[in-house]
Amino acid sequence: MSSELNHLLSLASAGKMSRRDFVGRAGALGVSTAVAGTMLSTAAFADTPVKGGLLRAGMQGGESTNTLDPALAASDVPFMINSTWGETLVDVELNGTLGLRVAEEVSSNADATQWMFKIRKGVEYHNGATLTAEDVVATLKRHTDDKAQSGAQGIVKGITDMKAEGDMVTLTLAAGNADLPFLMADYHLVIQPGGGVDNPAAGIGSGAYKIVEHEPGVRAAFEKHANYWDSSRGHADQVEILTINDNTARTAAIQAGQIHLMNRIDPKIVELLKGNTDVAIERAAGPGHYVFIMRCNAAPFDNNDLRMALKMSVNRQEMVDKILGGMGSRGNDFPINAAYPLFDDSIAQREYDAAAAADFYKKSGHDGSPILLQVAPGAFPGAVEAAQLFQASANAAGIPLQVKLEPDDGYWSNVWNVSPFCASYWGGRPVQDQMYSTAYLSTAEWNDTAFKDAHFDEVMIAARGELDQTKRKGMYSEMANILRDTGGLICPMFNDWVEGRRNEVGGWIANPAGTLMNGKAMSMCWLNA
């Protein structure tokens, strides 16, 4: 399926197919119009790769406390570094479909309770060893293991048994899950020699580049992995990933040509940056979203009318314009958007309605005491400003919303998932099921809205095993509506990935699944002489 789409794309970008035809055909393959559009807009395809050179990316989201252990990767820079030296079984293609990496073939039984991954032959680690099915199992084990401290622990929970026979890895699940392959694309699950049990932070993997130097929070330097299996990747001789957390410096750096790629262009300056002829702004409508989360079990948010009142009093368009500088789309109070397969775009968009909000507020019978919204600059870019816009629009509807600033330091431990009402963000997941089961299942670890709804849970489990796409789409649509009207999530906006590319960089393909081509930019881009 992915290969077919790629074929279409190449046709389109080579001009052999009209835009409308492409979008149509892509749609037929379950690709949303938005994504298809994005795909085409990045017509970097046509030209052919240039080998050699030093490709540099400057990124936000790294600290000197980072490590190379994929299990502990949490922020953008480690994510990028790991996806440059390591590879997963599969990854998520630009259009949200499955791409084959270490696994060259994926199949399952009828009820999706058992999955078979055929491991590609002759995949070699940087240390010369060859990647085996045992390594894969060992890796998965390491992340499942209770002793492990992996962020992927929740993901691999469902697997009851894993075994390796020859070049075949077989995973058995408690309940059927049609999306399991996508879970295997999780960036924590980098395949390491012996599963990386002895030395998780060795940074030895099977990726296109091998690490030659790593100073956490500063720089990771790579050189080409000579025996890399995939000739279509790894064009530059060397690549470097620099941590440049300061927006201004990072932007200045790409303009000055000190770096070739950058993540997280501050939406505010996109307009200004457009003036620069050397730098192209790459957008991808991703699943990431900025949210305000109310805990449904904590007063006063245990009252759905109050929740509705607050949902009604967000001016989503204003936020998209001012916080995202238009680089995003309005949210609809459930965590899914067009970036996901099986998204139901027929669900009505919620608008700012002061009157309605006021009614709900009256109905809720709230005592009028100030409603505290806790926020830190680091909750998401522009969080403080967004909260202030929220406050303004809510106050206009007569709701006594008040913003309380928290320091970034300790925000995720002391405020998020603790305080009744705070700002947060979700990076999104490759598939709806994963998103819902991570944060909205009653029993989920990170159910940060403390949303508990038996029916919702049932539908989710059922949908998991459902292989009929249309039925499944219907179920997801129902879940969406439940969350939208009774959930604790206020989702004002989905943020596009807004990233910078100097014009001499070729091979860019927008990928909504993650930052900088879902971490593949270093392996897939090249420098035009």
């Binding site: 201004t248 200045a252 505010k268 300056i269 200004l272 913003v403 600033l405 928290e406 320091p407």
Partner: protein
């Protein structure tokens, strides 16, 4: 009394700032938190200094921000002076173990980089004006302590202080009636300096994200909000920066003037 031109300018400017801070709600053309215009509009008849990163009127925010900045800086410097001067004088007049003890404690406080301290304390305690002021006040009081101790030590050996002791006067009279009046001018000059460093310190704290509650915002915070525009020559960030600089300079001019009249040798940016 003869006031050199520079000092006069300083006095006038400082006065203006203080007034606009005091009457912020009446002067500011727009509410502080209302997004009235587009993002980063240039100066216009409507928005004299243009608009900020989410389209709020910069002039209004400057005026409100000024009142916060000046208030915090002022109160914290007052605090640091209250503490610093009192203990400084105590150490100088009592001497002995009190002096040694206090001096060692101050050495200790000064040896720990004040940024760590600020970082630690501000993330332990709830982030509000009171805490901010307390932290800054205490951190700064060490320097005041050293100055006032030095000044007081010079005065304490004067014959008139000895005369007071011979008369049998108490500690209070000696500190407040004999020493304080004579230590005043160097302290006042130092106060100017401290005030400026307080302003700069708040800005730095806000820059590191440990600043002031929204929708209020001190000038340093405003610079931070708008800094990304700077690289593209958007003036939005320069306005508050300019405000800080001008305030600092005007106070500094006044301080200098007093300093010249009593050439004192203290002062210094926090380590």
């Amino acid at each position: 009394m003869r006031i050199p031109l520079s000092a006069l300018i300083g006095l006038v400017m400082t006065g203006l700032f203080v007034l606009s801070a005091l009457f912020a709600p009446w002067i500011a053309p727009y509410p502080i938190d209302a997004a009235v215009g587009q993002v980063w509009e240039g100066p216009s008849a409507q928005y004299w200094l243009g608009t900020d990163t989410i389209g709020r009127d910069i002039l209004s925010r400057l005026i409100y921000g000024g009142s916060v900045t000046i208030f915090v800086a002022l109160v914290s410097s007052l605090l640091s002076f209250g503490m610093g001067a009192f203990f400084g004088f105590l150490a100088a007049t009592r001497g002995g173990w009190i002096d040694t003890g206090l001096s060692r404690i101050v050495d200790l406080m000064m040896a720990v980089p004040s940024l760590i301290v600020a970082l630690v304390v501000l993330s332990v305690l709830p982030l509000n004006l009171t805490v901010l002021i307390l932290v800054m006040g205490v951190l700064d009081s060490t320097r005041v302590f050293r100055l006032s101790r030095a000044v007081a030590a010079d005065i304490a050996v004067m014959d008139y202080v000895e005369a007071a002791k011979l008369r049998g006067e108490g500690q209070g009279w000696i500190i407040f009636r004999e020493i304080l009046p004579n230590a005043m001018s160097p302290l006042v000059a130092e106060f100017g300096m401290r005030f400026i460093f307080a302003v700069l310190f708040i800005s730095t704290l806000s820059f590191l994200g440990l600043g002031i509650q929204p929708p209020l915002s001190d000038w340093g915070g405003m610079v931070r909000e708008n800094k990304d525009g700077l690289v593209y020559g958007k003036a939005a960030a320069l306005m508050p920066a300019l405000a800080i600089a001008v305030l600092a300079i005007s106070v500094n001019l006044v301080a200098d003037w007093i300093l010249q009249r009593t050439s004192s040798l203290k002062g210094g940016r926090g380590g």
